[in-house]
Symmetry: D2
Subunit: 138 residues, 4 copies
């Protein structure tokens, strides 16, 4: 699947002249939203079906700085899936070089009960999308 592209903005840089490290966590979210939309599971559908997926953990290793007005490519992959959790990985590149590697972990919540659910049981179609992506990765 094609990588998501984020164009760096001035307001994302800091006094070192580079993108502030906190913003990569935001770029991950942008890429994740795009990933879900491309897989036919955009925000509106998630809301309509009552599925929410809070971020349980994030981690990011910074390899090289980026700056305005560069463009960062972000490739999202399903890294791991358990009954209750999903782990996504992100490879961020700029001008052909890896600038950051990151991961986010998510659980799934039923919007009606506000409780964690087993994805495979409660939202089987969404589960299959991740399962398919997980296999594609291997």
């Amino acid at each position: 699947m094609e990588a998501y592209r984020h164009k760096v903005q001035v307001y994302e840089t800091d006094n070192m002249g580079i993108v502030h490290h906190s913003n990569y966590i935001r770029f991950m979210e942008e890429a994740r939203v795009d990933f879900m939309e491309r897989n036919g599971y955009g925000y509106e559908r998630m809301v309509a079906e009552g599925v929410a997926s809070p971020v349980v953990a994030v981690s990011c290793d910074y390899k090289r700085p980026t700056t305005f007005p560069q463009e960062i490519e972000i490739a999202v992959k399903v890294e791991e899936m358990t009954a209750l959790k999903l782990k996504l990985s992100y490879i961020m590149t700029c001008e052909g070089k890896t600038v950051a590697q990151a991961q986010s972990t998510h659980c799934f919540i039923d919007g009606k009960t506000n409780r964690p659910v087993q994805l495979a049981e409660r939202f089987p179609e969404l589960y299959q999308i991740f399962e398919k992506q997980l296999q594609a990765k291997e």
Copy 2:
């Protein structure tokens, strides 16, 4: 009333080495929240009484740059009040010099009906707070 103090953070600076201009709009909100709390009308009370005050307009004149790790003092004043709107002004200073002058305009909404209300009629106590501040200014 004592000025609100905002300590500049690294993530608020940009590649010019100064606070990004968009952040002053956020500092205005911080100072406004603090102003409301000091006047006995904090967020919890506003929610409890069902009053919301969306931002209708903002403007900001930038006089001097600020940077990390400086501290900005923000003095909030009630500038003008009509039946439906409130205008606040903000004088921001740093190390004794004016760095920005700004204004925000707000309307008032009844959380139950989601409609604009006349502040004096619907929330008379809040109206009196602003009225008192307006006189204090003169």
Copy 3:
């Protein structure tokens, strides 16, 4: 000229479920950067020629809320030009409706001397671009 498009992100929304008002000031910058690039005067060229254009003032009138995952179109126009200052205007629309109208004022600085300059004298090509846009507007 085609409008710039900003796709709203989750991290740009606030607890009212809508885009936080401070972010529109950032969208203005995005649109301005894009406007400069389309006019053949991107950031690299400005740096190379030693021209900087600090924001002297901003103002924004909020007409309608927007939210994730809507897309905002931003049309930039040269509103006014004096010997020392440039005023740009921004019409932001979403799903065919005006959501915000804004303005930004800029001066021009010579990166070598760090002093304000008369654009027409010091950077005549850039001046002509704005002049042309100003006429196009009328």
Copy 4:
């Protein structure tokens, strides 16, 4: 050492009504800056001595949501120190409950050469501060 306190702002919340997860990475920086200042090694001194400490990696586990206008306490500890790297840990609590646990890893750079340095050799006083904190932890 006393915990750093961050007061949540409206612009830090998102459409779920809670603090957006990316902002905790910023709170970590705020607490880190405060930690350095309290240890007599504020930004001005770091700049004067030519030491910079880029963020090499961050990770954050989100335990409970927080929201406006709560206050988050952040306790910073030196977790680990090697010849080239420093790992800090952050315990964030709100109303007595842990809301997030995080870590950041830093290297040290000599501002004159722009190259990674061994902290103990190049900046021995700073090294001793971390060493002392590391022991305090145990």
